[in-house]
Symmetry: C2
Subunit: 694 residues, 2 copies
Amino acid sequence: MESIPYLALISALAALALASYFFTTVKAAPAGNDRMVFLMTEIQKGAKAFLRQEYTWVSFFVIAMVILLAIVIAPLASVAYIIGAILSASAGYIGMTVATMANARTTEAAKEGPAKALPVAYRGGAVMGFSVAGLALLGLMFVYLLFVTWLEVDDAFEIVTAYGLGASSIALFSRVGGGIYTKAADVGADLVGKVEAGIPEDDPRNPATIADNVGDNVGDVAGMGADLFESYAGSIIAPVALTAFAVGATATEATLTDFDGVNVLGQLMFPMAIALVGMVASILGSFLVKGGDSTDSKALSHALHRGTNVAMGLTIIGTIGMSYWIFDSATGNPIGLAISVIGGLIVGWALGKTAEFYTSDHFAPVKKIAAQSETGPATTVLSGISAGMVSVAASVILVLAGIGIAYWGGEETLGNGIYGIAVAAIGMLATTGAVVSVDAYGPIADNAGGIAEMAELDPSVREVTDALDSLGNTTAAIAKGFAVGSAALTALALFKSFELAVQQAGGSLTLNVGEVDVFIGLFLGAGLPFLFAALTIDAVGRAATAMIEEVRRQFREVPGLREGKEGVTPDSARCVAISTEASLKEMIIPGSLAVVVPLVVGFIDIDALGGLLAGALVTGFALAIFMANAGGAWDNAKKYIEAGAHGGKGSDPHKAAVVGDTVGDPFKDTSGPAMNILLKVMTIVSLVFASAFV
Amino acid sequence: MESIPYLALISALAALALASYFFTTVKAAPAGNDRMVFLMTEIQKGAKAFLRQEYTWVSFFVIAMVILLAIVIAPLASVAYIIGAILSASAGYIGMTVATMANARTTEAAKEGPAKALPVAYRGGAVMGFSVAGLALLGLMFVYLLFVTWLEVDDAFEIVTAYGLGASSIALFSRVGGGIYTKAADVGADLVGKVEAGIPEDDPRNPATIADNVGDNVGDVAGMGADLFESYAGSIIAPVALTAFAVGATATEATLTDFDGVNVLGQLMFPMAIALVGMVASILGSFLVKGGDSTDSKALSHALHRGTNVAMGLTIIGTIGMSYWIFDSATGNPIGLAISVIGGLIVGWALGKTAEFYTSDHFAPVKKIAAQSETGPATTVLSGISAGMVSVAASVILVLAGIGIAYWGGEETLGNGIYGIAVAAIGMLATTGAVVSVDAYGPIADNAGGIAEMAELDPSVREVTDALDSLGNTTAAIAKGFAVGSAALTALALFKSFELAVQQAGGSLTLNVGEVDVFIGLFLGAGLPFLFAALTIDAVGRAATAMIEEVRRQFREVPGLREGKEGVTPDSARCVAISTEASLKEMIIPGSLAVVVPLVVGFIDIDALGGLLAGALVTGFALAIFMANAGGAWDNAKKYIEAGAHGGKGSDPHKAAVVGDTVGDPFKDTSGPAMNILLKVMTIVSLVFASAFV
């Protein structure tokens, strides 16, 4: 059983090898004509410039944390922290590099039809997917083996947790910074280009078009990658930390073999075993995604999703096997923990489907929003808010069902329900490699369409890329469900680990909300996500204003630009620079909040910190779901109208729907996704610093 | 000391006598010409018809609760419940009757200037104010004396709490039903009248104008009255219940005299003593509100607010005196609890000022929203959402400061911090008589303006009523702060009482959020306010749609109506009937939610119920503040633009601001205010049924 971390490490290396292989095949594909290469290079340059600057800014934060960890916790914790941060940043950088290479290549392949273009876009996404999963698992297993197995240092599990904190820090800033960038560019491009100048989306005359396409990559690719890196690593760390701190909190001397009749080693190995199974399954699945000769959209969709479906199926089977093998000697039935994991997977899937129900134009909520656009923007906004809020109630009930099942499973096998909850999150994320591959495929197909438009290719090419783009949506919804659901479960498990870590450090944590300090913390925690949402919404507003002014200036001052005179090109680089600078400046305060608040509260009153985490978790989860789903619903209501309903494009209902969509933009792409990481960063900061608070 | 309840009872009777006296003077004032009397009678008829129907519908709910209480708790609890419900309903009915009498009389007096009109409007409001405070205190003291002092029945304090539950039930339905009504009528009148038909506000041609004016009365007067009745009674009940259940939970035999060295009788009497002091101070203050001869707005404002300011000043002095007298023999310093009460008052005031900062056009947030309207409705909506969310953070910090101070005070005097929190809420509400007088003055002045418009009086009359209308705003903001702040403190104290009541009943309540069932409850509780908000927003939408269709139909089918042909009048009664029916139908589900959910959860798992209450309290508080302040900010941004900024009325920024205002309407007048009562109803239901759950 002790070989599991080594096997997991090897599977991570295999994933990275696969990513390199896909990288080679993508690179080998033709990138098209000069114009396309130029556009691709511009997008790539912009995206890389953003990431480089972002990482430069974030490095100050990372250095501050490294010093703090070294002084307050242990120098080795700084090492783990910095490994987590660097690997997470690298995964984002690699994924984005390939995504911005794959876009023009997908466009070029789309000239020969979807069957040729699909594998290019998929493999571009798969580099991202397997880099994220591979690097996250590689780093985690390395840190685990190094500090726990080989060096056997003191507080080894705090050090392992610091690895997660490193990943979370990068994820938070990537999500916030990338989210602000992408929306500022999007709003700037749309408002001045489409609304004021009356030119179509992705038009080469619009100075913000390149920035908009850069935004898709830094937000949806790099930001999403860092997010999933953090979620994936966190979901494995949570049950490991929970187990280790439970031993530390109750045993006089920590033992990693049998303890209290419970197989501690098994509990430590099980999460890694599922990660191993999921990684192998994802690698096998990825080979099944082939374009084939069919151009039928159903067949294409089937081809794209075959990889994920096979990976999930294999993971379920593997989980049952691992459960019986590892918990063979447990007092309870090993099937319990397998059900926890599978239950988590199903709840994650159901969360994604719920999000889809509330945000897809195939169902009643979006149709209702579209219908409400007949009576103007106010009713459009209100019906979206209401749909988002109802989706909160539905999602909360699903998560609670997941918690209940997972708890039951943990009790069944080990008499430890919380452990069941902790491993349920891995169920959702074990196939991260496969899921992120398809998730990153989306922006590549989207960008490919943008390049087709900007390079003024034949409209048939755009039709192919649009068809490819729409294929990714179902998986994107499910990936979102996984991210959200696992955030709730992981945060809960980390929260419980925090409680145990405090006990292990010789302190005691009262989490009784009947106590005033806990209640004050709870209250503060409930208010915090509102402040965070407000800060990020305002940040998008300010960054977008800077962008709008620059686009307006160029249209005003560059003669012939608006008219599309031959040889007149916009200064896209300036728009990219403005969006970069504005979003990075705006990222600082909301990003720091997540780290500073728990530290300050924790050093004042640790019980209040417990309340704060609980309050922030439940309220933040609700707010995140609300913002994501309301935003998604408005977006698709607009698209539904654009497809011809309620008067179609240019009608008054369409204008009302555009208002809803614009309100929803920072909701769904900035505040909502960042909120999930906020919750985990706050919890993991508390967990790492638990001994210092005591 | 035992005489305090009797003295409080007498002070309540004095308040009612004062209300009768004011009623006579209002009635004696001339109501103006036939047209004005007709309009007044229409509004009154509509409002009374609504209330009668509302009470009919609610009576089914009340009967169900009476039966449930009689079976599950005690038949006498049903008696207390029904007394609370009837008195609360009566206070609303009386206040609204007088408000709808005072409106035309204020208009008539306004012909002679503001100095004549002010006392009429104030006294109309004061009937409401002193009816609410008088009936609430009268009923409570009667129930207390009857069951605790005279009959000395078993579970006397559960029965007293049931009185509060009766009041809360009525308040919840009044706020929800009235809130839906007022916004449906408002939106219907505005959207078809102002936007589609292009006729001004309060125009007699608009069929929904009467319904709109009725809405002001059923929402802002009757709904607000029932709300304050509930808050006031609840703030006194909370520390009484806390004390009684603390005795019951720890002593083998309940004793109301000395217990554990703490003066139990003093703790029971202190809240009533502050209520007594506040009532006497309010009565004295009310005589100081006189019009004088000046027409200067500053002098008028001073005249209007003199009553409240004097009442508060006297209450502070009286509180210090009572504290020293009652807690003379306490181990700690009696000043502690006086500081708790005064701290509560100051925090309530500061909450009101915070709300004012975020919603008044004198300050940056509203000015920013108005500026954002330059870039369209989407940025207007986003900046309002962000302002509302930031105000949550500010308000949370204030409430926490209040909790901290009050806790310190309770510890200082009695070594019982929670008791300090419980009495802090009374600090805010002791002067309910005076505060509600000015609060109810607002809609009367508003309605007076409507009548001046509809009766086509000289514009100078409208100017006077507008001047009067604006005077009430400051107090309205502070009253709102009191309502919100006291809701948080009262709910917290009731929550703690619930814990004690469970212990008294022999059960045990685990409120450790580290336990899974508590955490599940916490999560569910955090989701509930979102569902409640969605339900009420949707309800307003549906009711408004019914109204819009009727107004459109009349404009379409009644020849000459839109053109204002002589002798053609709209069928206002039909609009009133439609708004009434729609809002009452829509009130059922959200209203029942508040009672059914805690009962169901409580009978399944009482720890989960504890978590649910805590989660709902913190999230609901945040959501209530967000919705109230965002709504208020949009409203005033629109008014700011109408006053000439950013292009003024009819400009594009104005249209954008109107969108914000319409989004905010159900936020600030339906969902937001109802949320506060939701929290208290849920807590008080749990408290009353605590023994049954065990």
